[in-house]
Amino acid sequence: MLKALLLRSKGKSRLWAALVALCVGTTLLLLSVMIWWNFRELLFGKSQNDTLGSTFLVIGKRVTEQNMGNPTATVFNQQDIDSLKQVPQVEEVGVLISNHFRVYAALSGKLGFATDLFLESVPDKFIDKKPASWGWQPGSTDLPIIISSQFLDLYNYGFAPSQGLPQLSEKSIQNIALDLKVGGDANEHYTAHIVGFSDRISSVLVPETFIKYGNEKYGKGTVEAAPSRLIIKAKDPSDTKFGAYIERHDYTTNSQNLRWSKIRAIVEVVTSATGVLALLLMGIGTLVFILFIELTIARAQNSLTLLQQIGYGPHYLSKFMVQRFMPLVLGTVIFSMAITIIAQVVAAEAVKSQGLVLPLIPGWPVWAALVISTSILAVLVTRSISGAIRKD
């Protein structure tokens, strides 16, 4: 009976319009948080999404006509490294150490070839796709190698077609064993396997312990052992001060990374703008819904007055209205969350084909936004109902 008096069915279309407005606002808010979080996951997350150019940069000193004859001029000394560590955007600096001993690689069979090879090592924490079998101990004849994924591309799309050789998948190349001869007389033999591919570092990487072992045993001195390249973890390489520092010191880097970082900064601004817009729309949606509630109460004003005259308390009536409207609010919010979860699954599937990883369930900020927006909505709806009834 209270329902018949207070919630007349005349406003069905208005109710739907209000619910749609609320749903659109909530969904956009959750989606913008989801997009923002996914973007962060792709850039800074723990998953293997390094191809997004992110925050790791490999730098070297530019080889010019003036310094090309002076090997000490193109390596980094401790002062250079310390100076780099002081740059605000730089979080960590790692050195790439190259081998200073001879390495001769041979491959028998159909793909048979033999070549001198260079190797480099980098601290393990800078490796983007570190396999479980990564590591080397003196005495072991098995040597894991990580090569740049660009090398594989060069082989598959350049070298192999031109030479009539078969193309190789990542998996198949990992089954190939290289015979490595190391040392001045090439008297140490190792069986090397490619165990991974790096998007981050253009090099042939072996474990740091191996390079140190080789350089110590066969190397020629300390000057040569200085790093020629550094790997930097930068907070935001698109920062202009960072760019200026790199330019001032005439360092070379993967400019694609810097360019991508600029794009990333733009995307972040766009995401933030979407967030602000979503907040605005959520606000408008909430306002429309609250206005609908107040209109409903205003339409039932005569009944409300009479109900209070025969003894119904404002608290009882508010509770009745809240119990009628809150399931609608919760239903709408749950529906919006369902859309967001579906969008997350679709996004995760879409980026999978690009070799990127996103979780299937929206991240915690989306759930936090859901809880916070629902709580605010619940408080606003409750206060609006109590306020309108008490005013009556």
Partner: protein, 214 residues
């Protein structure tokens, strides 16, 4: 619960009230539970204003109205609702039924609030007042007499210490008036309650303990 009036003057009637000696306005007096008061008031002297003031519907007056020590002027709405469901009931002169509800729904909406009278009892009271065939009639389609009888039954569906009545039988014929009087007297006695009946002309519907000229 004692009713006390302390110099109550309704603002809209101030000039009229100050021109004569009223038995209720401007006076300070108290009435104890169980008293049967008849307030006789010619048309326009504030009879309905008095009932509405006592019931807490109007606050445009000077002085104080106290129910058991609780003033009505600044009373919290929740407390007023409690007072209206436990201590004071009213029969409005203009009935105040929900026009979109049937007679039975008008009864139920009050009965369910306090839940102190059974459905059978409420049905029986409606039947006693000759409304058996009108249970499903909408409030808006019933005659004034029928509405008044529904309003009388509605007022009796709760516990009360005082029953306020504003011309409660104005739309009833003699036979129906007598039935209503009998029912009201019976229920008021059951609750050991008092009553205040305001009407135009003198009557002896109930054994009044006091008759007051407004």
């Amino acid at each position: 619960m004692q009713l006390s009036l302390q110099g109550v003057i309704p603002v809209p009637l101030r000039e009229k009230v100050e021109a004569y000696q009223s038995g209720m306005w401007k006076t300070t007096r108290s009435f104890n539970k169980g008293e049967y008061l008849f307030i006789q008031a010619p048309s326009g002297t504030g009879k309905t204003t008095l009932i509405h003031t006592l019931y807490g519907l109007r606050k445009d007056y000077e002085g104080n109205v106290m129910w058991g020590g609780q003033g009505l002027k600044n009373i919290d709405n929740e407390l007023l609702a409690k007072l209206r469901t436990k201590n004071i009931s009213v029969i409005f002169q203009d009935m105040r039924l929900f026009p979109e509800l049937t007679a039975w729904e008008n009864i139920e909406i009050k009965r369910r609030l306090t839940n102190t009278v059974s459905i059978e009892q409420a049905t029986m009271w409606l039947e006693r007042l000759g409304l058996k065939d009108k249970m499903n009639s909408l409030g808006s389609t019933m005659s004034y007499g029928e509405q008044q009888r529904v309003a009388i039954v509605r007022a009796l569906l709760q516990p009360f210490e005082w029953l306020l009545m504003d011309e409660p039988f104005s739309h009833l014929d003699i036979a129906n008036t007598q039935k209503a009087i009998d029912l009201i007297a019976e229920v008021v006695a059951q609750h050991n309650a008092g009553m205040i009946l305001a009407d135009l002309d003198e009557n002896n519907y109930f054994p009044y303990t006091q008759k007051i000229i407004l």
